[in-house]
Every structure is written in C-alpha cells, then in structure tokens.
C-alpha cells in the first residue's frame, strides 16, 4: 500500500535552519492531511493539519503546504530546534470516512544538530 509516500527516510538539519519534510499521495479521495511527530517509545503526536480546500496552514514554527495538482504536501519547520529531532509521519484521510481512519507514510527521521 503506497498511497502515502515519504521518499526521504532521513533528514539532517542544523539548528536554526529550515527543515522541509515532503510527502506524496496517490489517492484522490484524500481530503484531509496531517503531520504527526513520534519520539521513541511514544505514540504519534499531532502537529498540524490541512484540509484539501486550503493550500497552506501555519501554526507557530510549523507550516504545511498542500499542492493538490501535484498530490504533494510538505511540512516546514522554521527555525529548527534540537528538540524537533524525531520521526515525522504524514497521514491522510479519505473523504467520507471516520476521522481516525488515517493512512500513514513510512516516516522521515529528522535530526537537528546543535
């Protein structure tokens, strides 16, 4: 099942710089997209989301961009901090299903160096 893909398994960034995490999807029925962060031995923690009717959503240091024609979304973290080091999952929900039925990408390990 490759409906949601995160092609970069890892990303390394210097503290203070921008982190850009990418996600591609293939299912046109997805209408809501989310980013989750996960630390080892913990469950995924919600970060930010975007509806398919928007192309940008911002929350503090986190901004998610959605390009529906390219079926691509990205998460920008500015400025990156060492505490942001974690696995980041992109997830998507099909239209008309219960909210929690999410399809996850395989995750990108972000490492922010001091």
């Amino acid at each position: 099942d490759q409906q949601v893909k995160q092609n970069s398994p890892s990303l390394s960034v210097q503290e203070g710089r921008i982190s850009i995490l990418n996600c591609d999807y293939t299912n046109s029925m997805f209408d809501y997209f989310l980013w989750y962060k996960k630390y080892p031995a913990e469950g995924p923690t919600f970060l930010i989301s975007i509806s398919s009717i928007k192309d940008k959503n911002e929350d503090g240091r986190f901004t998610v961009f959605l390009n529906k024609s390219a079926k691509h979304l990205s998460l920008h973290i500015v400025p990156s901090q060492p505490g942001d080091s974690a696995v980041y999952f992109c997830a998507a929900r099909p239209r008309g299903t219960s909210y929690g039925k999410l399809t996850f990408g395989q995750g990108t390990i972000l490492t922010v160096h001091p």
């Binding site: 099942d1 809501y32 989310l34 989750y36 031995a41 913990e42 469950g43 995924p44 923690t45 919600f46 989301s49 509806s51 999952f89 997830a91 299903t97 219960s98 909210y99 929690g100 039925k101 999410l102 399809t103 996850f104 990408g105 395989q106 995750g107």
Partner: protein, 115 residues
Amino acid sequence: EPEVTQTPSHQVTQMGQEVILRCVPISNHLYFYWYRQILGQKVEFLVSFYNNEISEKSEIFDDQFSVERPDGSNFTLKIRSTKLEDSAMYFCASSEQGLTNTEAFFGQGTRLTVV
C-alpha cells in the same frame, strides 16, 4: 493535559494464546481506534469504533481480532489466537468527533511480542 493511556507497555505471549490490550481514551472523546506498527513498517489502521460498534475496519482486522468498550472508560483489543506476525506496536487513539476535523490523539503504545 488529557491523554490516552495504554496498558501494558510490553506484552510477551506464546503463539496461539489470547491477548487483550487495554486503552483508556480521553474522557470526552467519542471515537476510538486501534493502529499497529510492525517493526520497520508503516503505522496501519486496524479499526474504528463509535457508539459501541465498529464503524470501519481494515483487511488486517480479521476474525482473530475484536474490540470492546466493556465499562464506559476502557477500550480493548483482543487477539484470540496470536501468531508470530502479530508482533508489533499497537496504538490506541481517540478523537472528540468522527467526521469533522479534530485530530486523533494516540497513546504511547503496547509492544506485543509473540514467541
């Protein structure tokens, strides 16, 4: 801050045995979910539960699996006869609403090891 709690954090069981994984969702949430993550693989949806019944399930959620909300606070996942391939991290999640845009909150997970 309210959170989803799961017990136990790690469960080891023999193949063929039944296991019950327990979750206490956030108290005012109405929708409950189970996900799993096999080591090195994606987080996968198993089942969603609302109003005391399953609302959706994936093809992974076969007859070996069942869910229950036995007492109004706990939400359980039962695997009747465990197989080696059931070894995974199992995450419970809950959300305030289902079809509107509220995020699902995840518990810390139960690591199930089938030997």
